[in-house]
Each structure stands twice: as C-alpha cells, then as structure tokens.
C-alpha cells in the first residue's frame, strides 16, 4: 500500500533535480532549500546540496562512480526481462510502461546487480533505480536480488544492497508480493552461511521492499533524509486522521527508533562501506 504516495507524487518526484535551462550553462534547483546550484558543483559534491546537505536521488551509475573502485563493476544477470503475464492495463499497459522506463533509464528493470570492488575488496552489489517505475519490485527485481544472493553464497563475498523503491509492482499482482518472501528466504541461507550483508536504505525505501530484504541487513545504513517505512505517509495520515510530524519515517527517525545502525552521508559512504566490508569480510586476508 505504501507505493500509493509514490505513485501520486510521480511527477513531483521526477522533478526533484529539474534542470533549469538557462542558456549557456546547466543549473539545478535544490529540491529542499531551493538554492540554484551549478550542475558541475553538484556533481563534484556527489549530488549533495552544498547548502542544505539534501541528498539528491542518483542513478545506479552515479552510485557506482561515487562509491566503488573505477570500472570495477561487472554486471550480472542482465538478460532477464519482465513479461506482462497478467495483461495488466491501468491508464496504460504494463508493456508500454516497461518500454518507456527502459528508454528513460537505459536499464532493463529497476535494479542492476553484479560484483564490484570497494577499496580493492570484492563485494556483491545490487543497486535499485527509483526512476524505473518507482523502483517497484516485480519478478525481475526479485529474481535478480535472489540470484545476487546466490552469487554471494558461491563466492562468499559480502553483499551490499542499495535500496530505492516504492514497494511491490502492482502490475504483476500477487507475484510481486511473493518476491518479498523469495528474497528474504534467500537471505536466510546467506545468514546461515554467515556471509555479511550490508543494506543501504536510500530515498525512498517503502512497502514491500522495506518489509523484506531492505530491513534485513546485518548492518542497516540509511542515507540522510531518506524516507523509509512500510506504509506511505499519505496513507498513514488518512488512517490516523492527523498530520505526521516533521521528520517522520526519515532515516534519522529510524535511527532513533532502533531500525538503522547508522545514517551516513554520501561523502563518507565509500569509507564507511569499505571499512565495514573489511571488518566483516569472512575472507579477510589483507588486500
């Protein structure tokens, strides 16, 4: 149900890093403090607003670039494709939505997975892409995450997930719900084998994604300001008939409520992850 807010806000969301087409240069307006930022500056600060520390949503490519050793990412399982097995049609056909999302993001679905190196240590990494149909989890997302976990079960390297998702993909009905159980079940095997799993919850991590693999890290890290929860704020407000307090369901709120181990700024994320991977890695030979 949490995906409700996200679908309602669709346009607004995609507007967040709206480019202002001022001739000559490219400028961006901060979603939070409304400062006008020079795009190059924003990029060199890893898409964190220098004025207010707002963490812009970023693409999987940007995340790889900011956090992992250059060119170390090797994508896996990139041939899997979603099918419209329910012949689902709302205001648009699922098929067409998929097509559009693929064109827009240049990705086959809402996640890429593979292995990458972080300060020379190999990790299994999955990065969700909110701009692909709200990062919603259908069969492909669930299958790729599961295969990524299976990869970790083979190579014994730590697993690092970056989540950003409105929840389950309604267009795949009950099958999308089952991906919650499938991925969590695979994590159960991972836990049994004592392979470390670090979950980095990015903005937003809601619904079926939050209520499955995202929350199950040995260590859960939040990005500053990330919205994280089961039900969406709008649904909650409708249910309890009151306005939610400022900061509700933000990463800092979850930290206080015991759900996250830490909230880490994007600037320090690479160091933090590299350190944790180093400390937890069962291989743990000096690199």
């Amino acid at each position: 149900m949490s995906i409700i807010d996200w679908f309602n806000q669709r346009e607004k969301i995609e507007d967040r890093s709206k480019k202002l087409d001022i001739p000559g240069d490219l400028w961006v307006k901060c979603y939070k403090c409304s400062d006008i930022l020079y795009l190059k500056d924003l990029e060199s600060s890893k898409k964190v607003c220098p004025s207010c520390k707002y963490h812009f949503r970023i693409t999987p490519e940007e995340r790889l670039q900011y956090l992992f050793d250059s060119n170390s990412f090797e994508e896996a399982e990139d041939s899997i494709r979603a099918v419209d097995f329910l012949k689902f049609r709302d205001t648009e056909e699922y098929k067409d939505r998929l097509e559009k999302a693929r064109k827009k993001t240049k990705h086959a679905d809402a996640i890429i997975i593979g292995v990458a190196k972080i300060k020379k240590r190999t990790v299994n990494v999955g990065i969700m892409d909110f701009s692909f149909m709200g990062g919603s989890m259908g069969s492909v997302v669930g299958e790729k995450i599961t295969r990524l976990i299976e990869l970790a079960l083979e190579n014994h390297h730590p697993l690092v997930m970056f989540t950003s998702s409105g929840g389950a993909r309604m267009q795949e009905g009950i099958m999308s719900l089952m991906q919650m159980a499938k991925t969590s079940a695979a994590l159960q095997l991972l836990a049994k084998k004592k392979i470390p799993y670090i979950s980095v919850l990015c903005d937003p991590t809601m619904g079926g994604t939050s209520a499955s693999f995202a929350m199950l890290g040995d260590i859960n890290i939040g990005e500053p300001g990330a919205l994280i929860g089961f039900a969406g704020p709008r649904v909650i407000e409708q249910t309890v008939r009151e306005k939610l307090p400022k900061g509700f369901q933000r990463a800092e709120f979850l930290l206080k409520h015991g759900m996250l181990d830490m909230v880490v700024e994007r600037q320090s994320m690479r160091d933090t992850l590299a350190h944790l991977v180093n400390v937890l890695d069962p291989h743990r030979k000096p690199v």
Partner: protein, 320 residues
C-alpha cells in the same frame, strides 16, 4: 444479517418462500406446489449467481462479517486449543492470535489473524490489522513450535498490516521482513489457509508456508483493489476492474502456481456453515500431516524454500 448486494434477488425469493410457508402452516391454503416451484427457481438462481461471481463479488464474500475466523476454526478444526499471548517485548497484539492445539495425535501451533465480529471486538482487534508486535508474537510462537517439533497452521484474514503511526515507529517493516526470513528457515511444516482476505504483506508475514490453500471465496492480493484503483487508475470507482486485473481469487492464485489448492465452500459461502468448512480444512491438514511425517526437517525446509524460490514470471534468454 444483511445480504450482500448480489445476493439480494436470491434473498427476496427466500423471503417469499418463508412467507408462503407461514401461510401454509396457518392451514388456510395448501401452497406446497408453489413453494416447491419457487424453491426450484431459487436453487437455480443461486447456482447461477454463485457460478458467475465477479472477483469483486468474491471479495465481498471474503470480507463477509460472518466469515469463519481463526478462533472459530481453532475450536472447530482442532481439539483443546489453548491460546498463548504476547511477543515478550512490548504488547500482546489481539489482531494476531495463536496457541497450541491438538489434531488426533498431532500437536500443532495455530496462528492467524482475528478481525472481530461486533464493533467492540473489531476495534479491540484493530479490524485484523496487526502492529509489529503481532508479527513478533507470531514469530515467537513459530520458534516455539519449531523447538517442540510441532507443525504450524496459519489462517490468513487481514486487510493488511496496520498503516499507523505507532506501527511505523515500532518497525512494521522490520517485523514483517524478519518473519519472512525466519519462516523460510523453519524445520517444521507450515500449512496456510487463506480463509478470508489475504491482504498484502500483512498476510504474507505469517504465510511463508509449505502449503497455501485458498478457501473458494477467499482472496489474496498484493494490494487492495480499492488501493490499486486509486493509485493506478486515479479513480477509486475502478475497484471492480482492478479486482479483476489483479487476479486475486482462489482460482487465479492457484493458476499462478502460488496456491496449492482451492477448498470448496458450501453454496452461498463459508459464512453459512462453519462446521462444513472446518471439516474440509481438517481433512486437508490430516492429509498433509501424514505426508510430512515421512519427511525429514531438512526436506520440509527444502520443500518450502524451493516453492518460494520458484515464484516469478520473466524471460531469461540466457538460462532459457
């Protein structure tokens, strides 16, 4: 009891029959022929109505206020049900109930949602919408069941996990996620019956099971048709259509390979005959428990794991 919308013509016929019977009984006229004739028509209409229910109509039956519930079934299906309470952490959540019961020589842990019937109970049980502590109680009982080698039976009937403020504060996501992971690792069999409304993650949180049976007029869905309509169609009135598209009925769930069987309900729906439904459920459990007795804990685990591992429909040209 108020009839459901689509039952109204049927209900009118029954009212007519009752009236004629009363007249007959008063001895003024013999109306037995007329009664027989109308009864025949009613029977026919009933068969017609119930063999052509739309998903949205089925949803109404699934949500029927007199739908058999977890407590009722715990009493009717099993012997000596003893309720156990509490998550040992924060609260006893009345919207998920559980306890130990017996079935012949078997001991089982029964866990299920409880919506409540009258207004007071509904409020007390939060309309069957659990808080995190409900899932944590369920998990405690499941771990107890595993410890003492008891099969687990769960009954699903919830609109969903509660989308409230405190539920979020106390980690609704964490509680459900943990259950999914832990249930998948259990060494005892878990048999699930979706008896009413299978509402999304709120249902799945106690339904990572070896067997998932759907009562004939139960539903199981990733989102309520109303919710889906208002998001995707931006029009809550499209709930009928969404109910159809989402494939939420017992038949659909089985066709998709998720359900392991549809359990026939008495004509008119399970709310008309709880003992009938209980009998159906009991014999299903007995049948399954016999099978699980021959399986090792590892096989029980693996069966459930393989089941959920297989869920998903996609194209994979490489592995195809």
């Amino acid at each position: 009891m108020k009839p459901l919308d689509f039952e109204k013509p049927l209900d009118e016929l029954y009212a007519k029959i009752d009236e004629l019977r009363r007249l007959s009984a008063e001895g003024q006229v013999d109306l037995s022929d007329e009664i027989a004739s109308i009864e025949k028509r009613a029977e026919k209409l009933r068969n017609e109505v119930f063999s052509n229910l739309t998903p949205h109509q089925i949803l109404q039956i699934a949500r029927h206020p007199n739908r058999p519930d977890t407590f009722g079934l715990s009493m009717l299906v099993f012997d000596d049900f003893v309720e156990l309470h509490g998550d040992r952490q924060f609260r006893d959540d009345p919207s998920i109930v559980g306890g130990i019961a017996q079935l012949g020589t078997h001991r089982v842990m029964v866990i299920g949602h409880q919506k409540g019937h009258d207004t007071k109970e509904k409020i007390y049980r939060n309309f069957g919408m659990p808080h995190p502590e409900g899932y944590r109680k369920a998990l405690r009982l499941m771990h107890m069941a595993e410890k003492f080698n008891m099969p687990i039976v769960t009954f699903i009937d919830t609109p969903g996990a509660y989308p409230g403020k405190e539920a979020e504060e106390r980690g609704q996501s964490e509680a459900i996620a943990r259950n999914l992971r832990e249930m998948s690792g259990l060494s005892v069999p878990v048999i699930t019956f979706v008896i009413g409304e299978g509402g999304s993650g709120g249902a799945l949180g106690i339904a990572v099971s070896n067997r998932i049976y759907m009562l004939e007029y139960a539903v199981y869905s990733v989102i309520s048709p109303e919710g889906c309509a208002s998001i995707l169609f931006r029009d809550a009135d499209q709930a009928n259509y969404a109910a159809e598209k989402l494939k939420i009925t017992a038949g659909d769930i089985s066709n998709l390979g998720i359900g392991d069987g549809v359990l026939k309900e008495p004509l008119g729906g399970a709310h008309n005959d709880w003992p009938h439904v209980s009998e159906t459920i009991r014999s299903k459990i007995n049948e399954d428990l016999k099978r699980y007795e021959t399986m090792s804990p590892e096989e029980v685990f693996q069966e459930r794991y393989d089941k959920f591992r297989s869920f998903g429909k996609f194209e994979d040209p490489v592995k195809a």
